[in-house]
Subunit: 325 residues, 2 copies
Amino acid sequence: VLPIAVDAMGGDKAPGEIVQGAVQAAEQLGVDVLLVGRADAVEGHGLPTLVCDEVIGMDEDPGQGVRRKKDSSLVRAAEAVRDGRASAMVSAGNTGATMGAALLRMGRLKGVQRPAIATPIPVPGASPTILLDAGANAECSAPWLVQFALMGSVMSAERFGIDKPRVGLLSIGEEDAKGNSLVKEANALLRDTAGVNFIGNVEGRDILTDDVDVVVTDGFTGNVALKTLEGAMRFLVGKVFEAMMSSDEAKEAAKVLLPALAPVADELDPDAHGGAMLLGVDGVCIISHGSSSARAVVNAVRVARDMVSQGLVERLRGVVVTPAP
Amino acid sequence: VLPIAVDAMGGDKAPGEIVQGAVQAAEQLGVDVLLVGRADAVEGHGLPTLVCDEVIGMDEDPGQGVRRKKDSSLVRAAEAVRDGRASAMVSAGNTGATMGAALLRMGRLKGVQRPAIATPIPVPGASPTILLDAGANAECSAPWLVQFALMGSVMSAERFGIDKPRVGLLSIGEEDAKGNSLVKEANALLRDTAGVNFIGNVEGRDILTDDVDVVVTDGFTGNVALKTLEGAMRFLVGKVFEAMMSSDEAKEAAKVLLPALAPVADELDPDAHGGAMLLGVDGVCIISHGSSSARAVVNAVRVARDMVSQGLVERLRGVVVTPAP
């Protein structure tokens, strides 16, 4: 079994938390991990290493970073997957650069026009909703959205065990005629796409419900929706905690409520979910959020291992075909 | 002083709650209200009436509804404003039809290319953030977004008393180079627009903060963001209440926490805010949400009265000029 390449240099808490997470993943999950990064960061932790000299910063221009820094941890991790030295890569680093490195080194799956970032949105009490594209492509065509629907369906089935995942198209009304021109065109195409269980247009408020399994949208709208959701969650959770800390009496009351609230908070914790996937490249690439803790890395490695062992990429390979021009 | 025309037939709870709200508004605020609707709905409540025979349904096609139903409450209310028989209109009905009626009967302000729906998003502890366009125009051009920025700034100043409102452009990263082509073009235009205090690109997570006063976007993205926000709020508030009801002990604890949580819940209640405004038409038009209660109607009438007395439309008239082609 090939190891999973973990980019030790990517993320706000890199390399400390990332390396710690990689060590814990190896111990707890019994998987082989290949630590990719600078010698001073990756050596001495008892894990196999792939030493490189460069790092693409979190705010660096992704395109330039990937082109110029050929000895960066991100580029080396993607190469390790391409060259058969790793089965998957995991990074909490610069998202654009992770995409760029994976795309340039692993290449696209045949027929795939653009890879998409597929982000699982936790829905406490139900399976996560997969939102894609969550930010890889700021501008999309309708046929790309159809490919996202196909790939998202495969991911929903493989990762969350959903039979015939319900696919919704993100719009501003449920009626087919609602939306912008991209959505109207994609709606018509999706109605004619075999292999997609298309339930029609959905709205932003449906993402957090159990009414849909895969929400398809362009990368601009998807990223706006994702960050709006994160902002709303952070805001409200903050207000609830503020109320709980507002007096000694409130603190006592909070202790009573915490057992009921903690499981929800835990399910909403992005560290618990192992991150997003870049779908459409020829290899498993897990994108963890920038503030990933060691726990997030363990979960990302777990998801990477599962997606490798379930043959996600092979399942995707047959599913997406370029539509006739 | 001219009365405020209230569409008695629009909204999920029409005419009952709407009429009740109109009566309360007249009593509590001391304003003149003109009830517009079918005789059986509007007569006998002690208010002046404008009787009409038709109603445009909540799910009816807006364009067809406005064109075909010339004796509908929405069209008659807009006509009353045009003809100087009312100073403003308020409706909780079909949003698209409200826009259509206002646009066709009141007309656009000179220079305005497209009216936009400006929705105040409550930010507990701070002034609401105005999001526009929240759904009037699914497809926008960059010059329209500049006009939205100008109009939103006037509304923020007039309605919330903000001096030099900070205007952000909704995107997927703060850097000017991030976003789709519409955003990149609008960003460049906004940097050169006098009269807009442009702070650059903002993200979905910024809407609920005190970092920005006006968030400008196209009507598709704005509507998706708005509904995502609503969905997240409803979801989390539901979970908190579930936890509070989960045991007798929890119910007791909830009583302690409610005094601290109630003000937040109250500020987030859409009924407390008086609804969105259609900016860019030649008259005050308040769009309340479909599930408006009597309380929401009272607040909508209050906002309408304030916007009339502050001369919002006159303030807008000078501000927006068509850019050179």
